[in-house]
Symmetry: C2
């Protein structure tokens, strides 16, 4: 492995020889001295080189400066450096408080241009989001964009730590299915040898299968696919879904308790590891949410926003995005909390597999989790009684015949269970105050975007 | 949450009242006493109930036994219990060395049948693999099958621990692509609004993109898709690929070093947590492999097996599955090692993006990792010089125009890099001596299997 010191580790080193490697962020090519800002995945550092613009005239009686030709070549190489080229630099690390960038610099000894960049960069700081996505690999060189994925890494690792600690089993459910998992309307169809397959819209059926298999509790972080033609800042045709499902619950309250625990662990890890960088790049003082998160039955939430002058313009019992923003603002003002569980959604607007209230079939044991005004997750206790499940499917206009493979899961016993699915890019978007999940998805996929 | 004690935690408890919940594995319904083996995700325990077969005759002058009706009802409920039903039991835990199953039993106080199973179980211990896969959720109730996924959970968590510790970034690459990532021949086509998309055969292009983005190193565990019509024990149309890619390498040797480190960490965690269970269920004394793993150039490996009497029946430079078994046996005998890196594959049998030897373009900086006779992984240093890459693509008969989006990644500088992809189900299959990846995949997908 090439011995190189990550830029973030330079500060702890004493003055002395170092090797660093990364890409050229900027070059300041002054007559007497050249500055290169070298960035790697961990940070940026100033490299300084005294310029030698021409070979010194030979002076009679003095030996020629043998280093001069190499110094001239280095000077010319720096002058020719394209923004973005990857370079390896050896030199002397020098701590110097006067250097704005981290209080240190590297005095160049050797420069190797490892991989040259095309000098014409297709995007700039003010490029449109769409243009930046065309050149996503360059966009991600921006330390702010890259930080998003380091935060995501920390967040997911913390969640998995909780799951593993609790003894839950990680599963990888198939994304190729014989039929729809959620809605026929938003289904991608795949040519599958002589027949057809469909891309999973969620791992819903399979994570329930794991409960029938006696797994007790499972988790999965994986892709989900929706053939949704919408172009909002919150929708994608492919997204990363964070899923968990647990057995032996009493109600959706147990699911919410796990949900809170996971998010708190995720936020704790992110704040501890990236709090300062988040402040620097996003101007956000990220705090760990307190437990319990506020809970408001959906009907009550609609009344609250109505009392504040906003009547949700929907014929059905559901909330709308503006209503979610308003109830979130109300919760922030009233309880000082960024999260709110809206609970007990009407059966009429929930899938057939959500369990309904005992004694009031019009309501479900379900919730949406709203974070900073946007829904990030749906959770529920599932109906595990197969006769009730069949009735509810029929009531929703589904054909139980098509669901046979799923209904079978319930015919050989299944414990009471529930879980949630959460959109990873939405969590990151709202955590960092970004305007679109396109910013917080490694490579966004939408109705008109399959590239790069 | 329902208060229940996991079966595995009973041993550490003193005698006294407990609540347990799980499914009925067996019922022994003797005249005077009934035994139920209750299994949950952590283990099995014997529940014992003194049978009361009929209400005692009233005896004049004595008060009737008020508990008798309930005891009669419980006895009858146990007699009627179907294998597989989920039950909740309260009772008295009693440690008793004479009880074979864990040296303890629970004397039943109350029984709740939470979810009844259809009494006719469609699979038995001797059912064919295909039949078991039809009823995978029942098959997975077998503690041996479930253990596979607990092992997988431990294994993956250990790998991620290494990656996170090293500062690598977790990415989720898109599975919907505008064109092929590997081979046109094994590509699934998706109807994508007015056009077509293709399912990613590997995250290859995107994990390389992350290097051009300056991420330094990345990892991903996610699905990959191959429209491969073969029915071998090692192939699936959808499989979980374990991927990593790192920058600033000198050669594929750096990739192999990381590969070893990850596997050793995974095996250490699995042996520590599940060693005894693996011995019990699979009869295998799993050991942590020693580093370094043996390395043999492919040409030399072919010579070795030829010297042992097996000439690989292929016209090209490649190994075949039987050759892999034989070289693996040779390595086991010679070096006592279960793993072997076969290195320096011929350029003619490697993809265009593998870097070739400096000074000998007929060989690549690549390897396959063979474990217990089967290939589990391919790794390589990638070609990062765009002009060379274009030439190599052309030489392989690829049209650079179709690869434009990928070639762009190399036009703005990219550090030397490499990585590997590893089939998760194969690792588990070989670790546990299973005969097929169908056993070690949560839900197998093949040319004729999309259900359940």
């Amino acid at each position: 492995m090439n011995e190189r010191t990550l830029v973030k580790n330079l500060a702890a080193l004493p003055d002395g020889p170092v090797t660093i490697a990364g890409w050229v962020e900027t070059v300041r090519d002054q007559k007497k001295v050249q500055f290169v800002i070298l960035r790697d995945e961990s940070g940026a550092v100033q490299v300084v080189n005294p310029a030698l613009r021409e070979l010194p005239e030979p002076v009679e009686g003095e030996a020629a400066d043998e280093t001069a030709p190499a110094r001239l070549a280095t000077t010319e190489a720096i002058s020719a450096l394209a923004h973005g080229s990857f370079i390896r630099v050896t030199g002397e690390l020098k701590h110097d408080e006067r250097v704005k960038l981290g209080g240190l610099e590297v005095k160049l000894a050797t420069l190797e241009v490892v991989s040259e960049s095309n000098p014409e960069t297709p995007i700039a700081a003010d490029s449109s989001l769409d243009k930046r996505l065309d050149w996503r690999f360059l966009d991600l060189r921006n330390p702010k964009q890259a930080l998003i994925f380091r935060i995501q890494t920390t967040f997911l690792h913390a969640l998995r730590g909780v799951w593993v600690e609790k003894g839950l089993i990680e599963i990888q459910t198939p994304k190729l299915m014989a039929s729809a998992s959620e809605s026929r309307a938003e289904l991608f169809e795949v040519d599958y040898f002589e027949g057809k397959a469909y891309l999973a819209q969620s791992p819903q059926f399979f994570k329930q299968m794991a409960q029938a298999a006696g797994f007790g509790g499972i988790f999965e972080v994986g892709p989900a696919f929706r053939a949704d033609p919408s172009f909002t800042s919150r929708h994608a045709t492919e997204f990363t879904s964070v899923d968990t499902e647990i057995s032996w619950i009493d109600s959706h309250e147990d699911v919410m308790a796990l949900h809170e625990e996971l998010l708190v662990a995720g936020f704790e890890a992110v704040v501890a590891k990236h709090g300062a960088e988040i402040q620097e790049h996003f101007g956000i003082e990220l705090a760990v949410p307190s437990r319990p998160f506020p809970r408001i039955p959906l009907a009550e939430a609609k009344q609250i926003v109505a009392d504040h002058g906003y009547v949700v313009p929907r014929a059905d019992a559901d909330m709308d995005p503006e209503g979610e923003r308003q109830i979130s603002a109300y919760v922030k003002e009233t309880f000082g909390h960024d999260f709110v569980f809206l609970t007990d959604y009407a059966s009429s607007i929930r899938p057939f597999y959500h369990m309904r209230h005992e004694g009031d079939a019009s309501l479900t044991n379900s919730y949406d989790l709203i974070y900073n005004g946007v829904e990030i997750s749906t959770g529920a206790q599932r109906e595990h009684r197969v006769d009730v499940l069949v009735e509810q499917a029929k009531e929703k206009g589904l054909d139980p015949e098509e669901l046979e493979f799923y209904l079978d899961f319930f015919r050989f016993g299944v414990p009471p269970h529930g879980g949630f699915g959460m959109g990873l890019a939405r969590v990151l978007m709202l955590m960092l105050g970004e305007s679109s999940i396109r910013e917080t998805t490694f490579l966004f996929r939408g109705p008109t975007r399959l590239l790069p």
